[in-house]
Every structure is written in C-alpha cells, then in structure tokens.
Symmetry: C2
Subunit: 588 residues, 2 copies
C-alpha cells in the first residue's frame, strides 16, 4: 500500500486511498485471508466452485437463482429482501477481492433499505413494486446519492465531476430513482475502463478487471466490472451503458446476457458520460443479467415508470407486451417452428475485415444448426461494408480530439493508461463542416443498411427478423490484443436493439488453429495470430442477436426462441463432442 | 420578360425562364387577362369572393369542401377524382397568377393520375386508399419524379441539387411514395424563402409571395406558398417542413391549420433541406390544412404505411387512436368539460422579449375565455426564459457559417436576397467544442423546460395538458418587419408537437394602438412601433397549441376541443363586438 499524504495528494496516492477506503467498507467476516487471495490469483477460473467455497449453502442457493426467481421468492415470502441482499453483498465483496470488479461499495445503505422493504412487506402484505428486494448493480457512471461517481477518474473522487466537494454525492440518476420506486436495492458500482472507450476494463483508479472465467483474459469492455461480477454471481442484474459495445462485450466475454436498447428508450438523465456533448451518436443505457428473464424484468418494470415524462430525451414507447407475444407465437415453447411463419435469420459469419477465431465461428455454427433444426430460416447476411460504418462511428468518438478526456485527466494530473496513449492523444477537434459531412455519411450508411435489410424479402417475400453476428472476433480477449471492435461499433451507428446470449466456451480440444487460413489484411493477420487455443480455453463465446431500432421487445422474444432452440438441439444431439462447461444457461 | 439566352445564362435569366416555363404549364383557359392581373395587384384581400370570380359554381363547391369531405365524396361516388383534381388545379393556377405562390406545376401528371384513380374505382368499386383522389400540394423541398426540386435555388433548376442534369428528376421523397400508395394526387409545389430560414416568403426564383388575406403583409414563413395557396383554397392539404416555425407561421398568417410533429415521426427521407448535416436540431415534415380533420387524415393515413420500415430515422410509433380517444373523452362534443377531469392549459401571454401586438393578445384572450367558459382550467405559463432557448436554437442554425447556403448560391452565382445578407454572410464555422457545449446547453434547456412542465402539478396535482401561445408577435407581418421568431424557435429546440389553429383576424377598430405601453427593450420597441392597425387590418391571427414530444394525437385531440369550445363560446356570446370575417373555420 502506498503511503497516503493528506494534502496535497498525487493522483496515485489518491487512487490508493480510494481503493483502501472501498475495501474498508467490506465487513470483517467477509474479508478473505492473504492465503485465499494468493490462491485466487493463481486460479484460472474463479467462477462456480471457486467463489462458492467462500459462501454458505443458503447463500449459494440464493445467488444461484436468477432475477425473476428472486423477486418471485421474495413476493411469495420464501426469502426476505435482507437475506437476498446479504447474500449478494457478500458475494460481491468476495468477487471484488478476488477479481477487482468494483468501484463503489454501499452495502450498509443496501441492507438498511432491504430491512425497510421487508418491513413494508410485512406491514402491507404486498411488495413495493416488481423489483421488490432485488439487488441491482450499477456501472460507475450512474449516480447514487451519498456515493462517489468517479467513472475511473481520480479527479472525480469525492467531487461531482471534479467540481466543488460540497456539491458531491447529491445527484441520483433518473433511472436509479425509477428502480428504487420499483423496489430495487442498489448496493455496488462496477469497474469500467478509463475513457469508457476501450474493450478491456482498466483504469488508474482500480487497475485492471480480469475475466473471472479465465484470468488469462480481460473482463472486457466498458461495463466489464459488471460482466465479471455477474459471472461470479455477485449480481443477477445490472445497468451498464453502451457506446461501442460496452454492454455487449462484457456479456459475451463473461457468459451472461445483455440488452442494448436503442438510445432514448431508457433514461440517461443525470448519468455521467464521456464527452456528453457528442450527442449525434449517443451512448445508451443497457441491461446485463444472468438470464433473459432478468433483461425483460428490468425493461418492463422501468418502462412502467413512463421515464419520458421526466426525461425528455426518452421516446414515449411503453413496454409492448403485444410485440413480445406476437413473436412468441411464432414458435413452440421448445423453440421449434410451429406451423405459423417460421422466423428468418441473417447470419454474419465475418465482417470481411477481421475473421473471428475458431471458437466464435463454432458458436455461430451451433446457433445456426439449432435454428435450422428448429425449422426456422437462415440466410447469409451481406450488408453494406461494415468497415465503412465502423470508420464513421470511430470518427465521431474521436471528433473532439479527446478534449473531454484530457479535461478530466487534468483534474488530478493522472495520465492516460498506456493502452490508450496513442488513440486518445490530445488533438485538434474536427472541423464542424467535416463533422456535418460525417453526419451525412452516417445517415446514408443507416439508410443503405435499412434498404439492404428490406431487400431480404426479394427472394421469398419475407424480411429477415433478426441477425446473428459475433460480438467480437474472439472469446473474451487476451489483454492488449483487442484489435477490432467493428462487430459492435457498427450496430451503434445503426442504433439497433440487440440481445447478447451466451453460446459456448472456447475449447482447446475442438477449437484448434487453422494454419491454412490466409489473412485478409494486416489487422486480420494480427488477430488471427493472436489466437492461442490454450490461453483462450474456457473463454466464453456470446453472440449478438440484432433487431432494428426500438425493437427491444421483439429481440428479447426472438432471443428466447433461439435459446430454447439451442437447448432443444442440445438435448437432441447424440454422439456430438461436448465437454463440461459448454452448457448454456437458459433464462426464464 | 427578360431576354433568354440559351448558353450561358446569368442567374436572373435562368430564373425568368423557369418562371415563364411554369406559367406555360397553365392551360390557356385558366390564364387570367392582364386586366384581371392588374385588378388582383390592387386588391387587398384575394381570398373568397375575389378568387371565386374566376371559378364556376361547381368548382367553388368542390374547393369549399375540406380534405375529409372530399375523400368521403369521392368514396361515395358523389365526385370523381378528375373533377376534384381539375377544380384544385384550376384554383391553384389562378392562385399562382394572382399570388405567386407556386414553384412547380404538374397538373397534367395529376389529371392523368386522377383519371387512373377513377378507372380503378370503377373497376374495383373501392378506393385505392384513404387519400383516394385527394390533391395534396407540396413545399418545394419534396421530390416528385419528373419534376424540379429547386428549393428556390437557381442552381438547382433542371439539376438534382445542382449536380449532373442526367440525374435530375429521378428522386421521389419517401413520404410522397407513401401518399401515392394511399391514393393521393400530387399536382404542384409551393414557394418558400431562400435558405428556408426566413419568416417571409421570398427568393430569387419567383420573388415574393404576399399574404392573400391582406397584400400589405407577407405570406410568411418557409412554407409560405403553401399557406397562401390554402388561404385561396387552391389546396386543402399540403406538406411543409418546420425548422424554426415554417409550418406554423404560414398557417397562422393565412388563417389555416397546421401540425408540426416531433421530428422523426414522419419520414424526411429524400427530402431536400438546408444544411442537412446539421442533424442535432432537425427540421420536421409538417402538415398544413384548411381543417383539423385534414391534419388528422394525413397523419393517420401516412402512419398506416409504417414509414419507419423504409426510413430508419422514423420512430416506430403507429397512429395511436387510443390517445386520440382518451383526450376526446375529456370533453363534450361542444368542447365543454364533461364531468371527467377538465383539461388544464398553460397560457404564455408574452415571452418577455417581444410583446405581441394587440390582435394577438386579443386572440389569446378569446381562446382563454372560451376554454374557461367551457369549464377547463387555465394557468399562466412561466417556463425557463424563452430567450435562452431561442438563442441556442439560432446558434445551431448558423453553426456552419452559412457554408451550405453559399455552396448552393455559388452554383448559379445568385446572391443572397437583401433581407438575409447580414444574417447569412459567409463566416467561419463554429468550433466543434463550442458546438458540443451548445448541445449540452440545448439538452439542459429541454430538461429544465420539462421539469417546469411537471411542476405545474404542484398546486392541484394536475399537470398541464397543453400550452397556448402566440406563433408570432403579429397577425402575419409587414414585409421587412419580422424581428423576432422566438415564439416558434423555442418549440423546435424542445422538439414538441404543435397544432396551429386560426383564431381571428386583426381588426383596426378593435385592435387599436396602446400608446401607454413601455417597451421592454429595443427589439420590443421596434416590434411595437411596427404595429399599424390600418396595415394589419384583416391579417389572420393563429395560435400555437403545444404538447410534448411525440404527442401528435394528443395535441390534435385537444385542438379539436379548443376549436369546439371557441364555437360554443361564440354562439353563446351576446352583445359582443364582432365584425364580418372574424369567424373561425371549424375542421372535422
């Protein structure tokens, strides 16, 4: 531990003090011994049995349930809010100690609220709302009263965006107010990368969050701490944000689910952000969960608050149960086509820039086989060059010449982390005329992509319902080797709605190197050469299921059919090579 | 007529040739004599009896109906599409000759289509769609195949945005494709101001469009030609666009109705625009009509095409009949409160920058009295300083330093019209960091305004349903004296949905000058001194009824209640001073 000087503190000391302060918020009986911490450091896979060794059976029973089961059990008085909250606080405490995935801990606040909720429940014999007693974790962009929001910036510790300390800790993000009104319990905030614009989870405040499924790899993406926490079952449901893949990458890399809605479906009001003045391509609030049911639960509950009445940026579209049902009616409960019109899927095998590693391609094949066996239609997806979309999107993210990032860094004097020194060097902002021209290019790309989507009806009269594509070209990622974020970024340019589902895990025995592959370009070569079956073994494979703008209910419904079809396919498969750990969790 | 040289043509000659060409598209029997033209020039009010002298009784009968009646009559075989189209083409032809309100005439195309529609109708004994046979006029930003879109720019004559003539006339705006699929007949395009950013209707192509109700005044605003054409009943329904008041100003100035939806409710795809790369505050497609029923008809019909499937910028909100009914249920058919919760209105008497002229204030009083007598609630509206919103919005419109405008002018060498030489002088574009800061200011203003709106529930638990405010501080405007467009611009910054209704007309006998008024500032003084009861006599007074984002159905429904309440109030008024011409037309 670094020596802490009270004043003035250099940035590193301020960060160390903050880390120490966070650890001190963990009660003594939840602290791990040095022996255990050393053991954890050497452990490849921290999930399941490893973390469970620190928990009691009743705690394991609670954290093994998904969000929907938890609220049901509390509603039916099988569990109390305090029991549930305690179990998740303890698990999150252990997760943080072995995985470094939290920025903020406010378990005391959470347990106090849980007790209040139990009290309300026993008084009124009814829940406060549909999220009664459910612990929800938050990416450290969301403001909670009484708690820091640092977004990884040292200069924001104890200060609201680095401003007057007197003004700190007074803000609550609108969506948090909504969650609380629905009965949720907020208890911790999860780690993220400096700038938010990085596919790994690393900053000067807490350092790095590795992948709990395989510590050779990164937790991944800008809601990486959230993904890692959920992989360790220290949470079943959390909020993140997504500007270039930030709720999709961590879901895919950690074997969980996420929903990236179209921006302006959920409230971003009073949520901290990188360069919020860049509002042409907006970051969106997203949901991560250990189950599909969790995603649906949060979306439906939150929209019942009519967030558009208090946040004028939100489009007034209530939760559309009818859309959910409309797609549900297209398949049997086991995912098989039911004699109505089968679903039609596009599959993007590669974006033509960077070929996915073998585990990802195998994952695509598994999904395609399952969908096809279930009687749905599959066509190849050949949209307008994804690389064009990626380049436009990246230009927007960099348009301010990293001015905002450097303003925040300058508050404390902390430097850019080495990985980002080149990308976010301070530069001249883009000329406005160029910016406006870029806007036109973005709109044109969006229109072209939409036209392509509509053109899928030309052959059989049926428009593709959803598209399956990789989240990234690798199953999680070896730190330092995330070369291409095009698979997620293009979807941000299009503002589409996406569900990520876990599909399988990298398997060194199956996913061997294909040394005959001829890379398409230097980037593709770098990525291809970075594939190491041994290192990646156990890395989760998740895929994107993509629908169009504001089609959140539709894509949730379709994802459920896909997951069901995969389970059916798996149950029916005989003689297929499978290994332990390749099972897919099915949400409610 | 200027001499026309074939090549090279200076811009003025090209404009003259284009004007001549347009006039030549009017068939001989619809051409007016020089005597009539001179008579028209001297006539203060061209509407009603004046223009009707050039029409036959059966034509007058047709053009006196509103859009809803027309489609009903065609559907019930009381009229043919050809009869209706002929009557409107002829009226539009005369309107253009006396009022200079058209850019494009394509009556032949229209009549051919009308004949086809009649043929379909007699073959199938059913209409092609809900707009079967209805002539719809278009602001000259909307593309029609085979026809110029000049937007007033000489350089665009015969060229698609000034580009290769080979590529001209091939585009059709998506919304036009939708209207055609619904059975509409397109027949003419209406005049607009150079740059679109001007409260009067003037360009180098056709010159000026004056107000047909009172030729001392301007037709007003950037859909001014459309407003004038409808005042002359050369159309019952038309499309315009609105970036700062462009469908509201001409509606108010011409005694008709308009709907400015939230941008992204209707398709703007393949519609020409000023500086389309400025997409932070977007122009919106709006509807102008001689009746409320016309607005409703077009909105509902167009949304039945699901425009979002082909235009990814459109938000997928279908027409919400339930919302319409929900508000309808709040009043009796005569507009009076019916024992459910009465409606609650805010009234903005002044924006604190420029005090409206006496006719406008009287109009506000008339509406307030009618609403109050009908049993609904009225409160004063004191939102965040409108001037702040206006300044932010204006900065966006000027952010590119008029680069786009000058690029278009340079195609032909035409100059800015004198009125705009100062405002749109070519300047350095805004710095992007400043632009992004301005974006944050805009978002903050929007959030503050929304908070204020919600705060109206503090006293009685009821949030204001809609706000009544001026469109402009004058009843139409004396050319050169439009000093303040804040009343409309702020609403564009907020992206609210608005219906404009006609209320009364300026009356020199009632709306006398209040010489005791102390102007608030220099701008207010200029505006106040510009009021001349004699000049303004007969100038229409329209007002804005404002609801929040994407509340088009709600605001249409509320507007209907307001209009009914005003009729009821008028019918009940005894001994009140009224003059001929102060009647309000009521839409279906």
């Amino acid at each position: 531990m670094a020596t802490i000087r009270v004043f003035p503190q250099p940035w590193a000391a301020r960060a160390a003090a903050k880390r120490e302060d966070t650890l001190n918020k963990i009660r003594a009986e939840w602290r791990l011994s040095t022996t255990d911490l050393v053991k954890a450091e050497k452990q490849r896979d921290l999930t399941g049995p490893f973390i469970q060794q620190f928990l009691h059976d009743d705690e394991i029973s609670i954290i093994s349930k998904d969000s929907v089961q938890l609220v049901e059990d509390i509603k039916n008085a099988k569990l109390t809010a305090v029991q549930v909250t305690s179990a998740f606080c303890k698990t999150a405490a252990i997760a943080h100690q072995i995985n470094n995935c939290l920025h903020e801990i406010f378990f005391d606040q959470a347990l106090e609220r849980a007790a209040w909720l139990d009290d309300q429940f026993s008084k009124n014999q009814s829940t406060v709302g549909p999220l009664h007693g459910l612990p929800i974790s938050l990416k450290d962009q969301l403001h909670v009263k009484g708690v820091d929001t640092t977004m990884g910036y040292i200069g924001w510790i104890g200060r609201n965006f680095g401003s007057d300390p007197e003004q700190a800790h007074k803000i609550e993000s609108q969506i948090n107010t909504e969650l609380l009104s629905l009965g949720a319990v907020l208890y911790c905030k999860t780690s993220l990368p400096q700038t938010l614009l990085f596919g790994e989870t690393k900053n000067n405040l807490v350092g790095e969050t590795l992948n709990p499924n395989n510590q050779n790899l990164s937790a991944g993406g800008s809601s990486g701490g959230e993904g890692a926490l959920q992989a360790l079952r220290g949470s079943t449901l959390g909020l993140g944000t997504d500007i270039g893949g930030s709720v999709r990458i961590p879901a895919a890399f950690n074997g969980i689910y996420s929903l990236k809605p179209t921006p302006e479906r959920l409230s971003y009001r009073a949520v901290a952000n990188n360069n919020p003045g860049e509002n042409t391509y907006r970051s969106t609030i997203g949901i991560l969960s250990t189950s599909l049911g969790g995603l649906n639960l949060l979306l439906q509950a939150d929209l019942s608050c009519k967030p558009w009445l208090k946040d004028p940026s939100v489009v007034p579209i209530p939760f559309r149960e009818d859309v959910l049902k409309e797609y549900e009616a297209r398949a049997n409960p086991d995912g098989t086509a039911n004699g109505t019109i089968p679903l039609k899927f596009g599959v993007l095998w590669t974006d033509g820039v960077v070929q996915p590693h073998p585990p990802i391609t195998r994952g695509l094949n598994m999904v395609v086989e399952a969908i096809r066996s279930a009687g749905h239609k599959i066509v190849d997806w050949n949209p307008p060059a994804q690389e064009v979309g990626r380049a436009i999107h990246l230009a927007f993210l960099k348009a301010d010449g990293a001015y905002d990032i450097h303003s925040q860094l300058n508050l404390s004097g902390e430097p850019l982390i080495p990985d980002l020194r080149k990308s976010f060097k301070l530069r001249e902002p883009m000329n406005l005329l160029k910016y406006q021209d870029l806007t036109l290019q973005g709109l044109k790309y969006e229109a072209d992509y939409s036209d392509y989507w509509n053109s899928t009806a030309e052959q059989d009269g049926q428009i593709v319902d959803a598209v399956i594509m990789p989240v990234a070209p690798h199953a999680a990622v070896i730190p330092g080797k995330y070369y291409h974020t095009g698979y997620t970024q293009v979807i941000n340019l299009l503002n589409y709605s996406v569900v990520v589902i876990p599909v399988t895990k990298a398997d060194r025995l199956i996913d061997t190197v294909d040394s005959s592959y001829e890379p398409l370009n230097d980037l593709d070569r770098m990525n291809w050469e970075a594939y190491d079956p041994e290192m990646y073994d156990g890395g989760p494979v998740g895929l994107q299921i993509i629908a169009r703008k504001f089609e959140e209910e539709k894509v949730l419904s379709i994802a459920k059919i896909v997951v069901s079809a995969m389970e059916t396919s798996k149950a029916g498969a005989k003689g297929t090579v499978t290994r332990e750990g390749n099972q897919i969790a099915r949400g409610a």
